[in-house]
Amino acid sequence: MTDELLTVLKFCFLALLYLFLFRVVRVVTLELKADKIAVPLAALPVTEAPVSQPKRSRGARDESTLVIVAPESREGETFLLDQEITVGRAPGCGIVLADDTFASQVHARIYRQGGKTYVEDLGSTNGTLLNGERISGYVRVRRGDRVQFGQTIAELTR
């Protein structure tokens, strides 16, 4: 193998390397164009961003289940979320938290809409927490998320 040929091949190899990098840059450009404006973490509010009020959809057949995980005395109690359910210390609530002195009378509501579950704080004194972060307005709850009202914690299981 002559040295000249090896030199030519070396430059071909290097050219291939740069071709690869160029193609990666092109894919990155595409990604950036398709991307929404990225937000740095420090600029993100500590609670999830409130969105405008949704209209309730009637006749949604889907349902979801909320299980209480704390306090121990109520652990395992299950609530089916086939319609809107209110949470609070008032006897008329869907989930009555009579013993939870940190919960407000009508603390929050949980509802399903478009196949998704949302929780909305109804101006409670101590707030509603989603995975340990205080929410404002309504936020989406995903399977496995933990919602805390006063000292009661419930997990969305389905």
Binding site: M1, F20, A42, K116
Partner: protein
């Protein structure tokens, strides 16, 4: 398990496959070129080699297709290329090494183990946010991993640094695992406390300071990095931990004050270490003037600089230089070996590759919606970027040399496996955020449809 065929996922996986195919062609070309420099015939193991790299990439690619279909398309091909270039350089150095010192086959084996670790991470971890719940367990595991080499009878000192642990026939670096474990903890902890840490409650002069009780755990990384520096004589990891933590603290709070305080703390520690410890002092002295003791202490660094020099603009060509005279060329000094045979063009290509890799990692962090995913991604990106900077800066005499591996390129099983896990975590974060964004967009659309039906 159902594979959701979203347009975004389809597009991203298509790009990944095309870029990956090109990366494989380049790696195969390098393998052939290396063989041609020895004898004018194609290497006999060409088909076996092609089959092996193809199998490794296809397994990883299919795993992403199945388990993280909407993940970023650039990370896997970039990692494949860097790993390939590293492997070619390592097998190039094997040609000159004695039969007993060959490490190429071991590296190939580790690459396979790395891919297995990559797939396993994707399988075992359907959502990254689940990790945040076990933050203190990760802290404990991370600290144990860091301290493991200090246990008498278990630790191994290699090249003056005590960061190895012997398990049967294997020597592993638990510090590599500690990196990832501690980043999980930092991310979860800082997301919890960032409000408290960014809004000060006490006023001293014109600055508001956070409550000191929240600062306590922040001194822990500083103490840990000093301990690593003193006990394990590992300046590289020490710097890496501290900078990664500081970067995450800054990203979480957006306050420059922490960067100033952190840099001050590190500078103080560095000056004290320079005055107190011989090994730190000799590193700095070599950095300032490697030529004064050319044959002994300055040998490594000067050989590295000679390698870059003799490589010149386009390098000597694969297999045509003498990179084997550089000490520890397969690990710490692999960048110098690349510099000799592929020249400035080759090293700049490797640098751009790392820039794109780390850039993609930061882009994943920016695209994430959830604070934990954002911070975790940024932490992993910082680890990758800093490690690259520390070792490339070291061998090119930009900063004092501290031995860490060049991610994906250097020889070394622990490092390769941990980097594959980092890669899987980044892809998982990317997929998770893209899936949630798609979900939210669908919800929004449904809501609009309902609203227009009511109107």
């Amino acid at each position: 398990m159902s594979v959701n065929r979203s347009a975004l996922g389809q597009r991203r996986r298509g790009h990944e496959l095309k870029l990956g195919a090109l990366a494989l062609v380049i790696v195969a070309a390098g393998h052939v070129l290396l063989a041609l420099s020895e004898s004018p015939a194609f290497p006999r193991d060409l088909w076996a080699f092609l089959g092996a790299i193809l199998a490794l990439f296809v397994i990883a690619h299919l795993a992403v297709r199945r388990l993280a279909p909407r993940a970023d398309p650039t990370l896997l091909p970039l990692a494949a290329l860097l790993l390939g270039i590293g492997y070619i350089t390592i097998s190039r150095l094997d040609v000159a090494a004695g039969a007993a010192d060959r490490v190429g086959p071991t590296q190939a084996l580790w690459a396979a183990v790395g891919v297995v670790a990559f797939v396993t991470t994707l399988v075992l971890l359907p959502t990254v946010r689940a990790l945040a719940r076990y933050r203190y367990s990760f802290l404990m595991l991370g600290v144990i991993a860091l301290l493991l080499p200090l246990v008498p009878g278990l630790g191994r000192e290699i090249n003056g640094a005590l960061l190895w642990v012997r398990i049967g026939p294997l020597t592993v670096q638990p510090g590599e695992a500690a990196k990832v474990l501690l980043v999980v903890f930092f991310a979860a902890y800082l997301v919890d406390k960032r409000e408290l840490l960014s809004a000060g409650s006490r006023r001293i002069g014109r600055v508001y300071l956070p409550d000191p009780k929240h600062l306590g755990p922040l001194l822990l990384p500083w103490a840990a990095s000093i301990l690593i520096m003193v006990q394990q004589k590992d300046l590289g990891s020490s710097l890496l931990f501290f900078v990664a933590f500081l970067a995450m603290l800054y990203i979480a709070t957006g306050r420059y004050g922490y960067v100033v305080i952190g840099t001050g703390l590190f500078a103080t520690a560095a000056i004290v270490a320079y005055k107190t410890f011989g090994h730190v002092q000799s590193r700095i002295d070599i950095w300032i003037n490697p030529w004064q003791d050319l044959q002994d202490t300055g040998y490594q660094l000067t050989q590295s600089l000679f390698a870059f020099g003799s490589g010149g603009f386009a390098g000597t060509g694969l297999g045509l230089g003498r990179p084997d005279v550089i000490p520890v060329a397969t690990t710490d000094f692999i960048f110098a070996a690349i510099g000799e045979e592929l020249g400035l063009l080759g090293t700049i290509a490797v640098l751009i590759g790392f820039m794109l890799l780390v850039g993609s990692a930061f882009r994943i962090s920016l695209q994430a919606q959830r604070p934990f995913l954002k911070l975790f991604g940024a932490g992993l990106a910082t680890i990758l970027g800093m490690q690259t900077f520390v070792i490339i800066g070291g061998v090119t005499r930009v900063i004092p040399l501290t031995g860490v591996t060049l991610p994906f390129v250097s020889y070394g099983g622990s490092s390769l496996v941990s980097n594959f896990v980092i890669l899987a975590l980044l892809l998982r974060i990317s997929d998770e955020s893209a899936t949630e964004a798609e979900d939210d967009a669908a919800t929004e659309e449904a809501r609009r449809a309902i609203e227009s039906a009511h109107a």
